[in-house]
């Protein structure tokens, strides 16, 4: 066990944990930030995606030791009131079904659009191909990313 300080949604937080503990479990089990989801623990589904200094990463693949001293944003911190262009577009396009994978999708899309403000459909597919939605909301996801891109412009 060791002590680490990690900045989450702008707030420094301390954790005494096994250095190999993935950030995912620190968020969910220690800090009750349950908007970040567990889906596979192997970086194959994207449900646990958060931002590391603005870049989308899989929180199940980042240990607390590696996260120490870095700043992360989770779905809870993406916007103060759920009005990030992606969040608005997701509601507008009525994307979610069960919704479990959507926080990860939104975090991925938000980081992607910051780097690629005017993506093609192919770019969108490539950006989200690391994610799984078992409800299969893929055509609505595409529409929501396009809408969010238009919104951000």
């Amino acid at each position: 066990m060791a002590l680490f300080t990690i900045v989450i949604n702008g707030e420094p937080r301390q954790i005494d944990a096994d250095p190999r503990m993935p950030l995912l479990w620190a968020l969910r089990d220690r800090w009750q930030l349950t908007g970040t989801k567990y889906g596979c623990g192997l970086g194959q589904c994207g449900a646990c995606t958060v931002h590391e200094h603005g870049r989308a990463v899989r929180s199940c693949q980042v240990t607390v030791a590696a996260a120490a001293g870095k700043a992360y944003t989770t779905i809870e911190g993406l916007s103060a009131d759920g009005t990030h262009p992606c969040q608005r577009a997701w509601i507008e396009e009525d994307v979610a079904q069960c919704g479990f994978c959507q926080p990860g999708m939104i975090m991925e899309a938000a980081a992607f659009l910051r780097a690629n403000p005017a993506p093609s459909d192919r770019d969108i597919d490539r950006a989200l191909a690391g994610h799984i939605c078992r409800c299969g909301t893929y055509t609505k996801l595409r529409a929501a990313v396009r809408r969010a891109a238009g919104d951000g412009r």
Partner: protein, 740 residues
């Protein structure tokens, strides 16, 4: 019959005028903090400040009941949709007699009339309260947007102001329902009520439940089907920091050892340090490849009658030409994005459980059994599911959580890893379908024989505590057991007319635990049937759509309890043909072959679908791409068209996963695929363009949560044939399968 206030008071309420039973005994509790509230039934409540609360009496797994069921109530209640509160029903006195259990695409069809009646009764009472106060005829008043209006004078009163008076009136048993043509909310596209909570991460799924002092558990389970625990050594696991307890678990599908810790990571580390000796059990040699290879031999044992019309065997014997083909469907996993989990706080006297479940009934039964408590001592919270698809119709994972919490005397959340979820689920059974057609000298169809196979859904037995791996075989089924059960779905209720038809079934129950999966038996039977009809059409030199239409004479066909309206199926086929540009050849592309294929199905005589796939394959039979799927749907009244479009997309993605990608194999008695890389499901980059048309026939709502699933694989396989001339009769449609 009306339930009067007097009767209600006799039934035990102490506060007057607040609640009335809609349908005795659905008596509900009273909220003491609003003596002016109006609750004519368990489903809704009008507070004295006008806030309308609508209870969702089915369980949400993404199919949209939390939006649709309140819409039905609000439509008849004439509630202002922008100012309603949605509450999830969980088992308890308020909902006594109302099953929340959610399966078989039954929520909309099953609730439609009941919820309309509940909403309409409340509306009539509010109108009666207003007209009495105004001393006018109630027929001269109307309700709109949570107000009653006196049409002639324009006088208005909000529902909140009328609530107390309405609560004193008798509940009409047969209120007048609105004419569907007057609907203002139903049949319009309405967005999901949980959208804002989901996109902000606030939506709470089973896995997100957090209670004070919560511990987290991970369970190592027997690796083989029917394996048993011999002994375990927990000393190394207990030495892992954060680990609190190690206890055996017996209440789930497979026996296991639970490691209980301060967080999931510590529990997983402790689990990895366990030293366990397993006995492999009697099925340690089970191999699913062999099981599938053996399936065709089962057809000789297809002696259970499913459906017989005319003498198909005689017609086949005297046919000029016979043609037969066999189709195989592999084992499949549910793999919802939220793995199985449950949170339990069990004491000597009480149990409180938070379960993401499709079934209140079975979950309660498991809690009672494992905790040894009566129902009154149990509080079950039915929380949102990150997908269900049939996996959450059984409560093995809840039973484990209850057992572990009881053993360690602390609140515990048991979370399954993805590997656990894939290895220890119950599965869609592997099945085989054999079809034989007879043609006369002129080439006309004279008979169709369909030999199908079926596995008992052994999860029912496991759930009832029967060990399917060691227990003696169950008594033989009656010869008409399948016919009496109208199963297998898609074999019993095939919608087409044949000069003679014989459907028989063989029992192929094996050691893999199997249970309901999305669309249950339709995916296999419809893959076989729609593929075979395509083969027949090509054999007979007919257009596959025209051939199907020939088999669909106008009118209604009665099959057991089902009234199958062939006119409706013909209409969706015809529209799909027109919409997809079926008659014009698809654009050519160098190095690739392109083609279209069709499939059609009727789900329980309620919903009618046709689908056309537009695919291309590289010349070397690699790189199968589905470009576009045209789907035409008549699910009766489309109560929320946005929901129907969403379920179409969802069912198609599910169907493409089974058509193109995933299957479960078993080697040496254990599941082979353990990750989402090995059990591949559809991702965004293979999602085709969709064109979905809803033909709202105005018929009763037919349900829709699963219905597009069975059409996808045959439509794609038939399109692959059209493109390449290669017929693939097993799934998934991999390059290897195309080249075989």
């Amino acid at each position: 019959m009306t339930a009067t206030r007097r009767e209600f008071l006799r039934a035990g309420s102490v506060l007057a005028g607040l609640t009335l039973a809609f349908r005795l005994p659905d008596l509900i509790g009273v909220s003491a903090d609003d003596s002016g509230a109006f609750e004519p039934n368990a489903y809704l409540r009008v507070a004295s400040d006008g806030l309308v609360t609508l209870w969702v009496t089915h369980l949400e797994m993404g199919q949209g009941v939390r939006t649709l069921l309140p819409m039905i109530l609000a439509e008849e209640l004439e509630a202002d949709w922008t100012r309603v509160r949605i509450e999830q029903a969980s088992p308890g006195p308020r909902f006594k007699g109302i099953e929340l259990h959610t399966s078989g695409s039954g929520s909309s069809a099953g609730s439609y009339r009941r919820l309309r009646t509940a909403g309409a009764a409340a509306r009539e009472m509010l109108i009666a309260a207003a007209s009495a106060a105004w001393q006018v005829d109630s027929a001269s008043c109307r309700a709109e947007r949570s107000e009653v209006v006196h049409t002639a004078s324009g006088r208005r009163a909000g529902y909140g102001a009328l609530a107390a008076a309405a609560a004193r009136l008798p509940v009409p048993a047969t209120p007048a329902l609105k004419d569907p043509s007057a609907f203002t909310l139903l049949r319009t596209p309405v967005k999901r009520v949980d959208g804002p909570a989901i996109v902000s991460g606030r939506a709470q799924y089973g896995m997100d439940v957090r209670v004070p002092g919560l511990l987290f558990a991970s369970v190592e389970r027997a690796p083989t089907l029917g394996g048993t625990l011999v002994r375990f050594d927990s000393s190394r696991a207990l030495a892992v920091p954060g680990v609190r307890h190690v206890v055996p678990v017996t209440a789930g599908i497979h026996p296991g050892v639970a490691v209980v810790a301060d967080d999931n990571w510590s529990a997983l580390q402790g689990r990895a340090a366990l030293q366990i000796t397993w006995a492999p059990g009697p099925q340690a040699a089970f191999d699913s490849d062999r099981f599938l290879a053996d399936l065709p031999q089962a057809f000789a044992r297809a002696t259970f009658k499913v459906r017989h019309e005319g003498d198909a065997l005689a017609a086949l014997a005297s046919a000029d030409r016979r043609f037969a083909a066999t189709y195989l469907f592999p084992f499949q996993a549910h793999a919802p994005m939220e793995t199985m989990n449950c949170t339990a706080r069990v004491t000597q006297a009480t149990a409180e459980v938070w379960a993401p479940t499709q079934t209140d009934v079975r979950t309660l039964a498991q809690i009672k059994k494992v905790a040894g408590l009566s129902e009154e001592a149990i509080t079950l919270h039915c929380v949102m599911m990150g997908g269900g698809f049939g996996r959450r119709l059984f409560a093995d994972y809840a039973a484990e959580a209850v057992e572990v919490s009881r053993a360690v005397a602390a609140p515990v959340q048991v979370t399954w890893t993805r590997e656990d979820d894939l290895r220890h689920g119950y599965f869609q059974p592997a099945t085989g379908e054999r079809f034989t057609a007879g043609l006369d000298r002129r080439g006309a169809l004279v008979a169709l024989v369909h030999q199908t196979t079926s596995s008992d859904l052994t999860i029912y037995d496991i759930h009832d505590g029967r060990n399917i791996w060691t227990a003696p075989p169950k008594p033989a089924k009656a010869a008409d057991a399948y016919e009496a059960d109208q199963s297998p779905w898609g074999a019993f209720d095939t919608p087409y007319e044949f000069p003679a038809l014989r459907v028989d079934c063989a029992d192929v129950t094996g050691p893999v635990p199997v249970g309901p999966w999305r669309a249950v038996e339709y995916p296999s039977t419809v893959f076989g049937r729609e593929s075979f009809l395509d083969e027949l059409a090509h054999l007979m030199g007919k257009d596959p759509i025209a051939f199907r239409l020939e088999l669909l004479p106008a009118g209604v066909k009665t099959v057991g309890p089902y009234q199958i309206d062939r006119t409706r199926l013909a209409r969706v086929l015809d529209e799909a043909r027109r919409r997809s540009g079926w008659s014009t050849p698809p654009p050519a592309e160098r190095g690739r072959r392109r083609g279209r294929g069709v499939a059609a199905n009727v789900y329980h005589a309620g919903s009618y679908l046709a689908m056309i796939a537009d695919v291309s394959v590289a010349d070397d039979l690699s790189d199968l791409r589905v470009h576009r799927l045209t789907t035409v749907v008549d699910c009766g009244m489309a109560l929320n068209p946005l929901g129907v479009l969403g379920q179409t997309e969802s069912g198609i993605a599910w169907g493409l996963s089974l058509a193109l990608l995933g299957k479960m194999d078993f080697k040496a008695g254990a599941a082979v695929q353990r990750t989402l890389a090995e059990f591949a499901v559809l991702r965004i980059d293979r999602m085709p363009e969709l064109d979905t048309v809803i033909l709202d026939s105005g018929a009763a709502p037919g349900g829709y949560g699963e219905h597009p699933v069975p059409l996808v694989a045959p439509a794609v396989a038939n399109a692959v044939f059209a493109a390449t001339g290669t017929r693939v009769r097993s799934l998934p449609l991999t390059t290897e399968a195309l080249r075989a």
